[in-house]
């Protein structure tokens, strides 16, 4: 009788337990190859230096007036929403346009959003390896009808790397701020 009661209580507790799940798209776990690229402050960003932190990546360019700054605005709000947890998160914006995006240009551009957002550039060859590892689509399109000369087509998802350097989530650039913050917090709860 007592065994039955204990079992019933345990079953009820198990049934009532709410499993918190990711709101972004979970990926088959895959370590991201370590890489080094210069940031806008003249320092070298090395992914392995950020073990123990959740690292968000977005691949965009400063010439873009629409989706890229929209995503950076979202990041600013995510950054503010995370509060103290921000210390355990890195926001990393990797240029898809190294021809235009010098470290100085990235620094000026990103200052509008948050000084905590890192802007990475580098040689086309070094960047190409990073794009390939993340699976980022990039295409340079020459446009005769525009004073821009060329524009870049690119992937707009955020890539989320966990505390151990493993790519875990894809999040749409237009995801609600609370969903992005929620998924980051869920990753921070994991044991390193």
């Amino acid at each position: 009788m007592r065994t039955t009661l204990i079992f019933s209580i345990a079953l009820a507790v198990w049934a009532c337990r709410t499993t918190d799940t990711f709101r972004g798209t979970e990926m088959p776990e895959r370590p991201i190859a370590d890489f080094k690229l210069p940031d806008q402050n003249g320092r070298l960003f090395k992914l392995s230096d950020h073990r123990g932190k959740v690292v968000l990546f977005f691949f965009g360019y400063t010439f873009c007036p629409d989706v890229c700054p929209l995503t950076l605005s979202t990041w600013k709000r995510v950054h503010d929403a995370l509060g103290a947890d921000t210390a355990k998160v890195k926001f990393v914006y990797v240029t898809v346009d190294p021809q235009r995006d010098t470290p100085e240009k990235l620094k000026t551009h990103l200052a509008v959003f948050s000084s905590d957002i890192l802007g990475l550039t580098g040689s086309p060859a070094a960047l190409k390896e990073v794009y390939a590892d993340f699976g980022v689509y990039i295409e340079k399109v020459n446009i005769a009808a525009s004073a821009a000369g060329y524009l870049m087509n690119h992937t707009t998802r955020m890539f989320v790397v966990d505390q151990t350097g493993v790519l875990r989530l894809l999040i749409g650039h237009d995801a609600p701020v609370e969903d992005v913050a929620h998924d980051i917090r869920l990753l921070l709860k994991e044991k390193k």
Binding site: F63, P65, D66, V67, S146, A147, N153, T156
Partner: protein, 159 residues
């Protein structure tokens, strides 16, 4: 004077007199805003010359309302804030983004409205001459096919 000629002349006069004044576009601008942008300090003359394709860019989003009974079309936008203004559109294909100039302007239907918004059509300010801070106002001159030029002020805000 032949009767047929008089009748024709009468018809022309009557049709001109009976034309409703509402048979035209009535354009107004609403919900107009821009993002903040920081522009680097002094530029060399050669850098400034290339500002339109390598400088800092801004954007304007707005709603164009047309209460008239004729459709209209936004052809171009002019402003002193930047080197070049172009009408662009962002096209999303899944998670891929493409941006391209809009050809032949942007149509505003009669008795309707057209919205320029993030991830869609927008006014691209290329080669900004100064930073755009939250609260700033940008004077714009919008040239319409039928309604002529409308002046509007875009407020800079951080969404």
């Amino acid at each position: 004077m032949p009767k047929i000629f008089c009748f024709g002349l009468l018809l022309i006069i009557l049709s001109a007199g009976c034309q409703r004044p509402s048979d035209k576009a009535e354009i107004s601008i609403a919900e107009i805003w821009s993002r903040p942008v920081m522009v680097a300090g002094a530029m060399t003359d050669s850098a400034a010359a290339h500002r339109h394709h390598a400088g800092a860019n801004g954007v304007v989003y707005l709603t164009i309302q047309n209460s008239g009974s004729a459709a209209d079309r936004l052809l171009r936008v002019r402003t002193e804030i930047c080197e070049t203004v172009e009408l662009h559109e962002t096209i999303m294909d899944g998670d891929r983004m493409m941006m391209q100039p809009v050809e032949n302007g942007i149509a505003i239907p009669a008795q309707g409205s057209t919205k320029l918004e993030p991830r869609g059509r927008h006014i691209m300010l290329m080669g900004l001459r100064r930073s755009l801070a939250v609260g700033d106002s940008i004077e714009l001159h919008l040239d319409f096919e039928k309604s002529g030029t409308k002046t509007a002020f875009s407020t800079v805000r951080q969404p």
